[in-house]
C-alpha cells in the first residue's frame, strides 16, 4: 500500500516479464501479496509432504487432500446431524448477532462515557474489571445464570467483542478537535446536532476499526461458547470431531472458521473504505 514510486515501477517492469509465464495471474498482486500467496502455498506443501512421508500417523495428520475430500463429504452428508453449511450458518448467526449487539451497546456506552463524567465513572471500572478476564473464565457463570440456550452463547461472544468497540468509540470521540465542535456550534448547532453530525462521523473510522478487532475476539470466543450444549455450530463440530479423533474434521472446522473470519474482515474493510474514505488523509 505504501510502496514508494521507484519500487513500484521496478516491480512493474519485472511484471512484464512475468506476464508471459503461466504465473500471470500473480501480476494482480502487490509484492507483499505475492510473498503472502507463496507462504500459504509453501505451508500447504509442507503439510502435504509431512502427511505423505507419514512423519506422524495419518490419524493425527491427514493430508490436505483428505481434508478437502472431507469438506465435500461433510458439505453433502453432514457431521453429527448437520451439514457443514448448517454448522457454519449457526456460528455465523451467533457471531453476527453478538457483533450487532456489541456495536449498538459499544457505541451508545462510548458516547455516554464521552458526554457524561458520571457515565464514565460508572462504566470505566466495570469495563476495566471484566475486560482482561478470558471469556472461558466467566462462561460457567453465564451458563449458571442464563442457562445453556442460545442467549447465553450470544452473550458470551457479545461480552468478548464489546470492549473493543466501546474503547474504540470512546477513543475516537476523544480525538475530535475542539475547533471542529466549535465550528459547528458557531454555525448554530444544537448539542444533539453536534453529536449526530460531528462526533458520530468523526468517530466512525475508529468505531469500524474497533469492530474489526472485536470480530477477531468474537470468533475466538465462539468455539468456547459452542463447547457447551450446542447441537450445531463450527465449534460444536470441532469438539465432536475431537471426541472421535476425526482429525480431518477438526482441521476442516478450523479452516472454515478462518475462512469465515477472513471474509467478514474483508467485508468490514470494504465498508470502512466506503464509509470513511477520509481516513489517513488528514
Amino acid at each position: 500500500m505504501s510502496d514508494s514510486p521507484t519500487l513500484a515501477s521496478t516491480r512493474e517492469s519485472s511484471l512484464r516479464v512475468l506476464s508471459l509465464s503461466p504465473l500471470r495471474f500473480l501480476g494482480r498482486f502487490t509484492y507483499v501479496g505475492k510473498v503472502s500467496v507463496a507462504t500459504c502455498v509453501a505451508v500447504v506443501f509442507l503439510w502435504w509432504l509431512a502427511a505423505r512421508l507419514e512423519v506422524v500417523p495419518a490419524m493425527f495428520l491427514p493430508s490436505p487432500f483428505d481434508v478437502a475430500a472431507k469438506f465435500f463429504a461433510v458439505w453433502r452428508d453432514g457431521f453429527q446431524d448437520a451439514t457443514l453449511w448448517q454448522h457454519l450458518l449457526a456460528s455465523l448467526g451467533r457471531v453476527t448477532a453478538a457483533l450487532a449487539g456489541a456495536i449498538v451497546f459499544g457505541v451508545v456506552l462510548g458516547f455516554a462515557m464521552n458526554l457524561s463524567e458520571t457515565a464514565r465513572g460508572i462504566i470505566e471500572p466495570l469495563l476495566e474489571f471484566y475486560r482482561p478476564i478470558p471469556p472461558l473464565a466467566y462462561l460457567p457463570l453465564v451458563i449458571i445464570w442464563f442457562g445453556i440456550g442460545e442467549f447465553a452463547k450470544i452473550l458470551v461472544i457479545f461480552l468478548g467483542i464489546l470492549p473493543s468497540v466501546l474503547i474504540a468509540t470512546y477513543d475516537g470521540l476523544k480525538s475530535v478537535s475542539r475547533d471542529m465542535v466549535n465550528a459547528a456550534r458557531s454555525l448554530g448547532a444544537t448539542r444533539l446536532q453536534v453529536v449526530l453530525l460531528v462526533l458520530l462521523p468523526h468517530a466512525l473510522p475508529s468505531i469500524l476499526t474497533g469492530t474489526r478487532i472485536g470480530l477477531g475476539t468474537g470468533w475466538a470466543t465462539l468455539v468456547a461458547a459452542e463447547l457447551v450444549a450446542a447441537t450445531r455450530g463450527l465449534g460444536f463440530m470441532i469438539k465432536g470431531a475431537a471426541d472421535f479423533l476425526a482429525t480431518d474434521v477438526v482441521i476442516l472446522g478450523i479452516l472454515v472458521i478462518a475462512a469465515a473470519a477472513i471474509v467478514m474482515e474483508l467485508a468490514l474493510r470494504l465498508i470502512q473504505r466506503a464509509l470513511a474514505p477520509w481516513q489517513g488523509h488528514q
Partner: protein, 265 residues
Amino acid sequence: MSTLAIKDVVVHYGAGADETVAALDHVSLTIEPGSFVVALGTSGCGKTTLLNLMAGFLRPTSGFATFGDRPIEGPSSERGVVFQHGALMPWLNVIENVAFGLRLKGIPREKRRERARAMLRLVALEGLEERRIWELSGGMRQRVGVARALTADPAVLLMDEPLGALDALTREQMQELILDIWARTKKSVFFITHGIDEAVFMASKLLVMSPRPGRVVASIDLAFGRQFAEGAKAGEVRAQPEFIATRERVKQLVFSSRQLAEARL
C-alpha cells in the same frame, strides 16, 4: 447592524499558580459595524482568548462581552468563525462543508446548495464543489472555511489567524481576497495575526496586544485596507511612505511591549 463590545474583561485560565497571570487583563474594545479590526501580538498575548470570548466559546472571569444590546452567552450563527486550521469536516465534500450551517437550520438541500454555490463563487472556488477536503491546498481550505462562515450570513466574521499556516504568496492573495469580501459583504471583521505587514495592510482598526498579562497596548485607526478595497493596487498601497512609516512604528510597539513582558518574567 450591531456593535460587538468587550468591556473591562478579565480572563483567568486554570487554578492555583496558573491563576496569577491573566490571559486577558482588563481589556476593552469595540467592533463597529463594517470595521476591520485586527489584533496583532506575539503568542500568549490573549488574541485567541479574545476571539473565543466574542464567539461565545468562553465566558469572562469578570467584565462583559455584548453584541448589540445583548450579552454574549454562547456561540451563535450571527458571529461566524474562521479557524486557523480550517476545522473543515473531512466526511463532507466542499459544498457540503459550505452548506453545513444551512443544513443545521433545516433548509432544504437544493436551496442550501444554491446559496453555498454563491458563496464559493465569492471566494473564487467555483467548480470545486464536489472535491474532497483533503484534495485541496491550504489556501483553498481556508477559502472553504471563509465561505462556510459566510453562508450562515453572520453580522461579524471572527478570524483566528486564518493565514498563519499559508506560504507567503498564497498569504498575500488571501489578504486581498478577504479585503475584497469584506468590502463587498460589508460585514464586520475581527482578524488575528502575528504578521505586522499583514496587520497594517488590512486593518481599519489595529489593536497591538502584549503578553503576560494579555493587554491592548495601542489602538490605531488605519485606512490602507480601505484604499485597497476601493480599487488601489496592493503594491501601490504598500509602497506609500505612510504605509512604511506606520509599519515601522507598529513594529517598535510590538517589540517594546514584548521586551516589557519578558522583563516581567
